[in-house]
Amino acid sequence: MALLELASVNTFYGRSHILFDVSLSVGKGEVVSLLGRNGAGKSTTFRSIIGLTPPQTGEVIFKGERISGMRAFRICRKGVGFVPEDRRCFPDLTVRENLEVAVRREKQTSSPWTVEKVYSLFPRLQEREKNLGSQLSGGEQQMLTIARTLMTNPDLLLLDEPSEGLAPMIVALLADMIIRIRAEGVTVLLAEQNLHFCAKVADRGYVIDKGSVKYEGKISDLLGNEEIKEKYLAV
């Protein structure tokens, strides 16, 4: 059984219909990527899963349980971790405080994430422990938002465009970290525009455009599929 399952999800912002019958599934232990251009609907899919913009029709099933319709904090406590695209760390909290406020599900997890454990994954954060969120660089903010979400001990991590706007060196580092996070037993759904970044970390991928899924398959197949790349991805 899949860990996460979206069945014909339709989502609206006010009157505008954004997602059209989006269906996808993520198996336990996988890294799956959601690819698409600007405005394709990747973030909206994530917001539909985490419950910030709940779908109007369709279902989101997580670990066999219907989570669509639940409030975001409940979905988080079920084990879905959301890392938003615009690096929203709490600007007035220190790095450590940012991590502390997110502690969740320690009892349900066999070896829970601790501040020390995420510091070992992101040593840079430890150096900047006492700095405020607003004082960090873009790359550090990205690390902090990922680390913060890890503190909620998610079984599934929704990563929204983590590589956007980062220097190539940091992007390479990031790919490494995703692989290490996966090794800790966390399943990852990764929204990206950057196919090559996905190819480093993901097994399968979905391509989304104008709010509907256009392609589904192995990343390796996608790399060779010039038509899809041409049509739906900015290469």
């Binding site: 006010g14 009157r15 910030l52 913009t53 929203r88 709490f90 600007p91 405080e97 940012n98 406020v101």
Partner: protein, 647 residues
């Protein structure tokens, strides 16, 4: 001026400023905390303060002596916290997804209700609260005599501030509160239970207000309505400091405490205006307050966008203009059937309706909540009043000039206000309004001060070649106001349905998108502000003519609430809504005031029910129901859809 260098005098003044700042801080820290997390500017915070003082009064009257005093000190914050929790869980919680204005209005309704309930339970008179003997006296400090109680207050407030700092910066809950106030949505997604946190924070804010009331009660006095005075001062404090920022509240309290103390000594005639002047000055330089940051949208979930069905009238007046003839004819023949009282009542309604319809060009059409419309009403009224009493100007030129002066006032005030949005906009308009109120109230030489202007002569109007038109009688005044206000309303309707109006609506729906489309949002908002202000001034001018006397009361901020209430009662997203609201409010008022002295209580209840049950107002409700009914048959549905698609 040697007095200022005197150390004993200085000691006394500094301590009295600190005492004032202490009270302000206790109340506004809770206010700003609630705003930071819940995003609600809680009008009822002053009422919670008042309840704290009444708790103090009640407990000390049951248990006398120092024991009773300290028991009361402990019980008042807890009692108020309990009330706060009930209010949040029972009422506020229901409307978080609504737009800001409904939340403001709900807390405003609570003020009306709580004030009148206090009047019923404790009576309207001022109550003084006994202090234990050891806090009664005064001590001598650097040669100045300072009440012992002042020392207590000045010591306790910083202690509370330190405690607050500890709670917010050293405890997990405090960190969660700070996180939530900077990004509510993110906090939600990280598993923080907003519902529980909101209740907690509201209750905690209530504790601070209750404690402030308990501490201030014995030093000041308590009476129904004291909260309304206190809350406005605290609004000034938190807006100056930056909404939602605790340090802002601290600095704001100290600034206002100092300014009021110095103002009383140096500039007593304008003491009241000084704090508004400071607020205007701060906001002009730093629109988000000294420590504030621009608010980003921190939606709890998508805002309630279900009003479209209410906005569109099921009957299309524009396609069936003759439908307008019916009400017009009814109004024209009305005086033939109704006596002078009803003619007068209707004339009042015309003036109020004009003000409300003009106001709604800002709120309903453009999405800007002005809390200072009374200022333009006052400018118009005083222009007519002063010109007619002090000069020989004719009635029509005076009325014309009232359009001009209020347009000038609105252009200037609007220039500063439209740079802000939401609550900040509302607060800046309120500050400008109070500034104009203070001028009218204190400038005896020009405006007559708090006496106002009496006996305004209403001169006959020369009609080219047709003699003179006398509008002195109730009936002729009725027709005169009907025609002038009617033309103005017709003009405003044209504005709303013009391309200009459509652009305003686009700005209301999504200001960001509008600006991406190349629309100069600020310019459009400013123009709407000026049009609304100008016609509000005209309403004021008509008011001066029909009443023949005016007083600064008409400029007070509580009068600015009138068009807001009318609009909400009638329906915010419809053109006739505000006019219907004017009818409801004025008719209700004139009957209920005759029947009970608790008009505020009744109004508060009406508002509460309306906000909770009919957020689209009376007309919105009618439209929705009528549509439901009409759309049951298919051809009407098709007809409606083709119409609404174009509107």
């Amino acid at each position: 001026m040697t007095g200022f260098l005197d150390i004993s005098f200085l000691t006394v003044q500094v301590l009295s400023a600190l005492r004032l700042a202490a009270f302000l801080f206790l109340i506004s820290s809770g206010l700003t905390l609630i705003f930071g997390v819940l995003n609600i500017l809680n009008f009822a915070h002053g009422a919670l303060y008042m309840l704290g003082a009444y708790f103090m009064f009640w407990v000390t009257s049951q248990v006398t002596g120092p024991g009773g005093f300290f028991l009361a000190m402990a019980m008042a914050p807890l009692g108020v916290a309990l009330i706060g929790m009930i209010l949040e869980m029972g009422l506020l919680r229901r409307i978080y997804i609504q737009e800001e204005i409904y939340q403001l209005l709900l807390t405003y309704a609570l003020v009306l209700i709580i004030d009148d309930l206090a009047k019923i339970v404790f009576g309207a008179e001022y109550k003084s609260i006994p202090k234990p003997a050891f806090l009664e006296g005064a001590i001598t400090l650097f040669g100045g005599t300072v009440p012992t109680y002042t020392i207590l207050v000045v010591v306790i407030a910083p202690t509370v501030a330190a405690l607050l700092w500890y709670l917010l910066y050293r405890t997990k809950t405090g960190k969660v509160i700070r996180a939530t106030s900077s990004d509510r949505e993110m906090a939600d997604a990280l598993g923080i239970n907003m519902k529980a946190l909101f209740t907690l924070v509201f209750a905690f804010g209530a504790v601070l207000a209750g404690f402030g009331g308990a501490l201030a009660g014995p030093a000041r006095t308590v009476f129904p309505g004291v909260g309304t005075e206190v809350i406005i001062e605290c609004f000034v404090v938190v807006v100056i400091g930056g909404l939602g920022n605790l340090w802002g509240a601290l600095v704001g309290s100290l600034l206002i405490g100092a300014l009021e103390t110095v103002g009383i000594i140096v500039f007593p005639e304008f003491e009241m205006g000084l704090i508004y002047l400071l607020m205007v000055a701060v906001l002009v330089v730093r629109p988000w307050g000294l420590f504030g940051k621009p608010l980003k949208i921190k939606a709890l979930s998508e805002k309630n966008l279900s009003f479209e069905s209410q906005e569109i009238s099921p009957v299309h007046f524009s396609s069936r203009p003759w439908l307008w003839v019916i009400p017009v004819v009814l109004l024209l023949i009305f005086p033939a059937f109704a006596g002078r009282f009803y003619q007068y009542l209707l004339t009042q309604i015309f003036v109020a309706a004009l003000m409300a319809v003009a106001f709604n060009l800002l709120l309903g059409t453009t999405g800007l909540l002005s809390f200072g419309q009374a200022a333009f009403f006052g400018v118009g009224a005083y222009t007519v009043g002063l010109l007619l009493t002090k000069t020989g100007t004719g009635t029509m030129p005076a009325l014309g000039l009232s359009l001009f002066t209020s347009a000038v006032a609105a252009s200037v005030i609007g220039f500063f206000c439209v740079r802000l949005t939401g609550v900040h906009f509302a607060m800046l308009t309120l500050a400008f309004g109070q500034l104009i109120f203070a001028i009218a109230f204190k400038w005896y030489g020009f405006t007559g001060g708090d006496n106002g202007i009496q006996g305004i002569p209403v001169r006959e109007i020369p009609l080219a070649g047709l003699g003179l038109l006398d509008i002195g009688s109730t009936k002729s005044m009725y027709y005169f106001v009907l025609v002038v206000a009617g033309l103005a309303v017709a003009f405003l309707r044209r504005v709303r349905s013009s391309p200009f109006g459509a652009t305003l609506k686009a700005i209301r729906e999504n200001g960001q998108r509008a600006s991406y489309l190349g629309i100069n949002v600020t310019l459009y908002q400013w123009t709407a502000f000026v049009i609304a202000g100008t016609f509000t001034g005209l309403a004021g001018g008509l008011f001066a003519l029909m009443e023949r006397s005016i007083s600064p009361e008409i400029i007070h901020w509580t009068k600015s609430a009138d068009p807001v209430l009318m609009t909400i009662i009638g329906g915010i997203y419809t053109f006739v809504g505000p006019a219907v609201g004017a009818v409801v409010l004025i008719v209700l008022n004139s009957y209920i005031v005759a029947w009970t002295e608790y008009w505020a209580l009744v109004l508060g209840m009406v508002l509460l029910l309306l906000v909770l049950l009919l957020p689209g107002g009376v007309i919105g409700f009618v439209n929705e129901k009528a549509r439901d009914y009409l759309t049951r048959s298919g051809w009407i549905r098709r007809w409606l859809f083709s119409k609404s698609a174009t509107s």
